[in-house]
Amino acid sequence: MGSVELIDVSKTFMLRVDGAQQTVRALENLSFSVSDGEIVALIGPSGCGKTTALRIAMGLDAASGGKVAVDGVTVIGCGHDRGMVFQHAELLPWLTALENVMFGLEMKGMRGAQLRETAQRYLALVGLQDSGNRRPYQLSGGMQQRVGIARALAIDPKVLLMDEPFGALDAQTRETMQAELIDIHARTGKTILFVTHDLDEAVLLADRVVVMQHGAVQEIMNVPLPRPRGDLEALRGSAAFTETRYRLWRAINATDH
């Protein structure tokens, strides 16, 4: 199981600008849910609160109001039931790729031979079985991101939360990674909530797309593409893809006024 619900989540940031107190209402009664095994994309204009929503779902920030539930149980703070993939990988630079994956596992209490084996297995899952002893600076951006994904997957969370996981990558690497994610999803059946700016990515990967605007849900759109989506390339050419992408584009642009 692995469903996530955001129920009336609000977040107000207090900040000081030139000595004056300001409040920023980043989220206002944001509600949506991701059901077990589903992939949901979070999309919307810059500053609409996507990262904030994800961080609250992860437990890195506390909500000012409302709650987050995983499998119906309200969560407080971070937990091993959720795995986070950061926008810029955020690997620990002094650890090798393998050790970075092992770090998450150790925090979950795994020890001994099993620890290294499991980490190795997840590195292999993202195609990095041969780069385990490299340090982050010896890896390309895409490889770093894959280590980040392996690290989050390895702890076997119910839900994978990803903040623009492929945003910093070039188009080609991004496509490879998207295919890889679809593949991983097909094999593990993980529940995935990810933030993106890329309409194609949202339509290709997600079962539903949550369009956000000013810290609230503007629209939730179903993506009527079949699963499994083995061949992303063929999918891009399909009429259903083009049609859905256009509907999504309209939905997002409707929010821009």
Binding site: H80, E90, W94, K108
Partner: protein, 252 residues
């Protein structure tokens, strides 16, 4: 050109110029490299230098070593926990500026004239730069790295040991390096103001005899010692934090 060659040329020019101009100075008011070298050989031959060096290094190693062992954890804790920072931060900041020479008589009253007071002076002089640098380093650790720990539900102690400490290592090493110079100065001050001993004794005694060349020997030895320690620390840093040199954007 390799770096050591540039350093060597720089040294040769400086020593050459000193030799050239130093010879014209009255030997009471100054000295020059070849005279210092002769004095050096003499001090080594009589065994005076070796004995003095040993006598000086004992409190130095103990005081400096303790300063690292206390300063690093203290800096980590001050930097990491706001309450501790509020409670202890001011003392560390003030301690750094403390005119230690003025406190030596007091330390003598407490600890006597021997080894303990000398080690304490070295300790107090090197503790603060190490502690402050570590503290500064902790506050500069990117929040995003701490959040990696939090996202994987690492306890505070693990975040401190496995994320904050390695991320702070370059600052810690810089502090340890800065402290070398202060520790050397502290050592000589201690030898001047407590029981006159070690390298400090050679300086004082030869100065009293207007034997300026001999006086320069321990001074040069101390500077060479500091350079050597600095190199050693750099080497250790490279061993414990090999990733740092790779990320740093310095031209070779």
């Amino acid at each position: 050109m390799p770096r050591w060659a540039i350093t060597l040329i720089s040294l040769a020019v400086l020593i050459g110029a000193w030799e050239f101009f130093g010879r014209d100075i009255n030997p009471v008011f100054g000295s020059y490299p070849s005279a210092i070298a002769v004095a050096f050989v003499e001090l080594v031959r009589t065994g005076q230098l070796g004995a003095a060096l040993y006598e000086s290094l004992r409190p130095f190693v103990v005081g400096y070593g303790l300063a690292i062992m206390v300063g690093v954890p203290l800096g980590l804790i001050i930097g990491r926990f706001r309450v501790v920072e509020a409670a202890l931060g001011i003392y560390v900041t003030a301690g750094y500026a403390m005119p230690l020479v003025a406190l030596v008589p007091l330390l003598i009253l407490w600890l006597g004239l021997g080894f303990a007071v000398k080690a304490s002076v070295v300790f107090l002089m090197s503790l603060f730069p190490i502690c402050i640098n570590t503290w500064l380093g902790v506050t500069a650790v990117p929040k995003s790295l701490i959040e990696v720990g939090r996202a994987f539900v690492a306890p505070d102690s693990v975040i401190l040991r496995r994320i904050v400490l390695p991320a702070t290592l370059p600052y810690i090493m810089a502090g340890i390096r800065l402290a070398v110079g202060r520790a050397v100065v502290a050592m000589v001050i201690a030898e001047f103001f407590t029981t006159i001993s070690g390298l400090g004794a050679i300086i004082i005694n030869s100065a009293n005899n207007f034997d300026t060349a001999t006086m320069f020997v321990p001074i040069v030895v101390l500077m060479v010692l500091a350079i050597g320690l600095n190199g050693l620390i750099g080497w250790v840093e490279h061993r414990v934090a090999p990733w740092q040199a790779e990320i740093a954007g310095r031209d070779e």
